[in-house]
Structures are given as structure tokens and as C-alpha cells.
Amino acid sequence: MANIGIEYIENFAAARAAGVVESGGQDLTYVSDVAEGLREALECKGHTTTVSWIETDVFEVDLRAQSLGGIDQDVADKVDLFLISTHGDYDGAVSLLYNSKVDKFLGTSAEWRLGDTCALEWLLIFGCHSIDRDRPLDHLHIFQGLHLFCGAYGDMFDSFTIDEAGEDVGDNLTSCDSVKDAWCDGVSDWFVDNHPAVVSVETEATYNGGNIDWANTVIESDHLWGHGTTRADVKPDKQYWMAVVWEEG
């Protein structure tokens, strides 16, 4: 069974007071339900939550590589599946907003190296614009054994219609959906556009000169432990191309 990590922030008063964001950075309403819903859905199927931090206890260093001064080996890169819910923005790398300055109010994916300890397979970010679907190679350095990075290529919504998105993702994950499908379906209410996107690294075998064998790619066929086939890590020496999947309406 999988080890789960969840972190979420709904209150950003300290970040706003520090002048980190000129506009935006508003308090959120429903993302706690998203994270707690995912936790409940997975725990009731026998998975274990081993990392759980909220609000001012969520730190930027939790995702930052140990080699770059972070503590990912004790938090995000200690579990199999890690969800963080907060505000995001993208400018060559994703910035995540935190409400405590340990070490920074804004974390950057430029400092993430995930899966290098053979732990984290799936990174989930419920927040705006964490993936550049047009430039997936920008995310390559993150994949040190990580299987999938599930996020959004545009705005996500803090909406009553996504209140149960965490449970939906969790139910999907434990019902034989691939992780990609579990994410894209679970965070979609088919009402507002949540821009779900997923990125992976793949081996040469499935590229097939551009005529991609999608059904056998990691992005299409990777499942949560115990609920279908979990694909092997694609370590840097086996990486050949990157796949990006997104949903648009």
C-alpha cells in the first residue's frame, strides 16, 4: 500500500502582510476539503498518511531538494503520493505561495528534485498554473524517479463544485483508474475550467518515431500501488521524451 503526504494552506494573511503578492493571494475556502477528502478516500482503502501539515506549518523547504538546502527527503520525497493545495503561478518554473517564511514565502520548482530516493512517484498540486503544457521540458529536472506530476496548465477554481474533488481523485485512484485519469477526472466538475494537466518522462520504446504508443506510456498506464499496474521508475539514464496530457473545453 502507499504512503500518502498532504499539505494545504487556506489562509494567506501573513504572506499578504509581507507584501509577497501585490494582488491575488486571497484566502481559500474549499481546498482543505480537497486534501482531507483525498486522505479519507485513500485511508479507508488501507493506505497510510505519514505526512500531514497545514497552514503555517507548510514550508517551502518541504519540496526543495536536500542538495539545495531543502528537506524533501523528510516530507514530499518521503512518501509515494504527495498532494499540496495552495496558490500557484508559473514563470519558467512554478511558484507556490506559503503563509510562513521557512525559508521563503514563495517556493520554486527550479529547486525540486523528486524521486531520487525511490520514494515519491506522484506529485499532485491543487493550485493554479503549475505546468507549462507548451514547454514540458522545463519540468524535466524534477523527474529523478518521479512518475507523474499532476497539476494545472491554467487557473484552478476555489469552488463549491470542487469540494469533493479530493474524494473523487481518491475513489478513482482506488478503482483501477490510471493516476492521470484519476486526477483529470477527479478535479473536473465539467462546469468551470480547472485546466488539469499531467507531465511524465518516458523511455524510447514508446516514442516510436513520433507515432507514440500511448497505451503503453507511463502517463497512460501508471496506477497507484495495489490498484493496477504501477510502472517502474524512469531514471534519468533511461529518459528519452516527455509526455504532457491536458484537458481543455
Partner: protein, 312 residues
């Protein structure tokens, strides 16, 4: 410099479906056994091979959701509080793209292919006062990029059509009333969902509906609460929609009435660290608080010590 009044006017000007009065309708949920039986019958309409011989009840039932396992890695979920139903078949064949090159697919054809299924799903639910309208087609796409920058064609993996229910001319807002997903090389129906709370009899009353400006004011009052330090303006959010309708709460939530509500949708303005907002407020004169608040309790408590090892 934009001010709060500009934001309010911009939002109010987007109002759709406004009518000065609307009915309040009672909702009815089938008993669990009837609901499950009806959901299985619905599934058999969509997938003729689907009957009780193939399904297996899930032993672990969570939060009022009855889950049944189906062949081909499939499932049927029945949401007891709302009567919503969701189903999926996610076998290997359905992991193949609808089209390896999205340019070869006509959108109108995809919509046409989903409409029959949507009508089948709605048929036993539609009353004389209701109609089902196509709303939007969502497409899941994929592309590969090699490390030397070579790009594959954009593949179309799945397409999901969303349909909206209207009751006496007002949309039932929230999750799509019906969604139908096509996938696999044969464009098979791979997923579908119904979020359709049944009206349980005649209207229990009629109410005045507050005008769009008041609906916008109520929604923005809730938004302001989320960033109290200074007035929220057009520099913060760009209004996308203000719709009058009935609201269907999330699928695991019970609900006894359909009452008119204003639903505001706002996008973050410009480039900033923010999220979009969807705010639903009552459209009746005497209540203005948002319609639905989160209900779960955090399982973690604050009080973590910062790590010593960070490099700063």
C-alpha cells in the same frame, strides 16, 4: 484606478437567466435499494451487457457512496445523498486515443455521438417542466516532446460532453447534470455521470428574486471576506459570468430544496498568484450568506517546529 464599484457593475452586467420571481421546489431522494436498482438499470441502458451477473459490490463503502465493481476495470458509483450516479470502464482498449492526431476529428461528430447517450441517461428523469441542453465539449489531449525538441502530433485521448438540466427555464448549476466521455480507438462510451436531484412534487412556493446588482453585491461581499485588507477590484478579478439558476450541491451532500441562486464566476485578473472563484449566494430577498461551506475538520494541528537544516 479601478474600484469596487467597477467590479460590481462588470459582474452585474454579465447576468443571465434573470427573472423577477422563481419557484421553490422540493427534492426527493429514492431509498437506497431503489436507487441502486435504478442505477443498475440505467447502466444497462448504456452498456447492454451490463447486468447484475457482472457486478460485484465493493466491501468498503465510504461516505454514503455505494460502489460496484464491473468487468474491464469498471465501476458504478451511487451517491446516496443526492442520487447521483457515475460509471466508468477503463480497460486496456479504452486507453488507446480517440485519434492519434486531433486534427482528424470533427467536434460536431463527437457531440452527436454523446447526445444519444445523454438522452438515454436523462430519459427516466426528465419531467414535463425540464429540458436537457448541451453545454460544452471537453477534450483530453496529449503530446510528446523529445529532448531534442521534436514534437509528436497532438493526440485526442478522450472527449467529454457536458449537458445542463433546466427546470422551468432555469439552469441547475454546479457539476454538469450529465457528462458522457468517449474514449478508445472506437469512440466507445467509457465514462458517464448523472447529477440530477429529483423534484419531489409541486412547488412549495414562489419567491421574489433579487436583481443582478444585489446578486453581484452578495457574491463580492463573500469574496471581500477572503482578502479583507483592502477593497477587491478589477485589478484582482475579472468577472466571467453571473448566472441565475438553481444550485445542486456536491454529490455527497443531502439537499432538500431547489431555490433560486446567483452563481458568480471570477477569473484572476492578469498574472498573479491566485485562484479563480465560484461563489453561489441565495437569490431570495431574506438570505445572503453563501450556499455551501466546507464541512470537514482538519486532522492536523498547527505547531510544527521549523527545520534546523535549511540553507536559507
Amino acid at each position: 484606478m479601478p474600484d469596487t464599484e467597477d467590479l460590481l457593475q462588470s459582474l452585474a452586467n454579465l447576468a443571465t437567466c434573470y427573472q423577477p420571481r422563481a419557484e421553490i421546489l422540493p427534492l426527493d431522494t429514492l431509498p437506497r435499494n431503489k436507487l441502486i436498482k435504478s442505477s443498475i438499470a440505467t447502466a444497462a441502458r448504456i452498456w447492454p451487457w451490463f447486468d447484475e451477473c457482472f457486478i460485484r459490490p465493493e466491501l468498503v463503502e465510504t461516505a454514503g457512496v455505494a460502489m460496484f465493481r464491473v468487468v474491464e476495470d469498471g465501476r458504478l458509483q451511487v451517491f446516496e445523498a443526492s442520487g447521483a450516479v457515475a460509471a466508468a470502464i477503463v480497460g486496456v482498449e479504452n486507453r488507446k486515443p480517440l485519434a492519434k492526431d486531433e486534427a482528424s476529428v470533427y467536434q460536431d461528430e463527437l457531440i452527436r455521438l454523446t447526445e444519444r447517450t445523454a438522452n438515454d441517461l436523462a430519459e427516466s428523469r426528465l419531467t414535463a417542466d425540464e429540458e436537457l441542453r448541451f453545454e460544452r465539449l471537453w477534450r483530453m489531449k496529449a503530446q510528446g516532446v523529445t529532448f531534442n525538441g521534436e514534437r509528436s502530433a497532438v493526440a485526442l485521448l478522450q472527449a467529454t460532453a457536458a449537458f445542463r438540466r433546466y427546470v422551468r427555464g432555469l439552469p441547475v448549476l454546479g457539476r454538469a447534470s450529465i457528462n458522457v466521455t468517449l474514449g478508445g480507438a472506437n469512440a466507445a462510451v467509457t465514462r458517464w455521470g448523472i447529477d440530477w436531484r429529483r423534484v419531489g412534487g409541486k412547488a412549495i412556493g414562489e419567491t421574489d428574486v433579487v436583481e443582478p446588482a444585489e446578486g453581484a453585491r452578495r457574491a463580492l461581499a463573500d469574496l471581500q471576506r477572503r482578502r479583507p485588507e483592502r477593497p477587491v477590484t478589477l485589478a484582482d478579478f475579472k468577472p466571467r459570468a453571473l448566472q441565475l439558476g438553481y444550485v445542486s450541491l456536491p454529490r455527497r451532500q443531502a439537499q432538500s430544496l431547489l431555490e433560486p441562486a446567483w452563481v458568480a464566476i471570477l477569473d484572476p485578473a492578469g498574472k498573479q498568484t491566485s485562484m479563480g472563484e465560484v461563489i453561489a449566494v441565495p437569490a431570495v430577498p431574506d438570505r445572503s450568506e453563501p450556499l455551501f461551506r466546507p464541512w470537514r475538520r482538519a486532522r492536523a494541528q498547527e505547531g510544527r517546529s521549523p527545520p534546523n537544516a535549511s540553507a536559507g
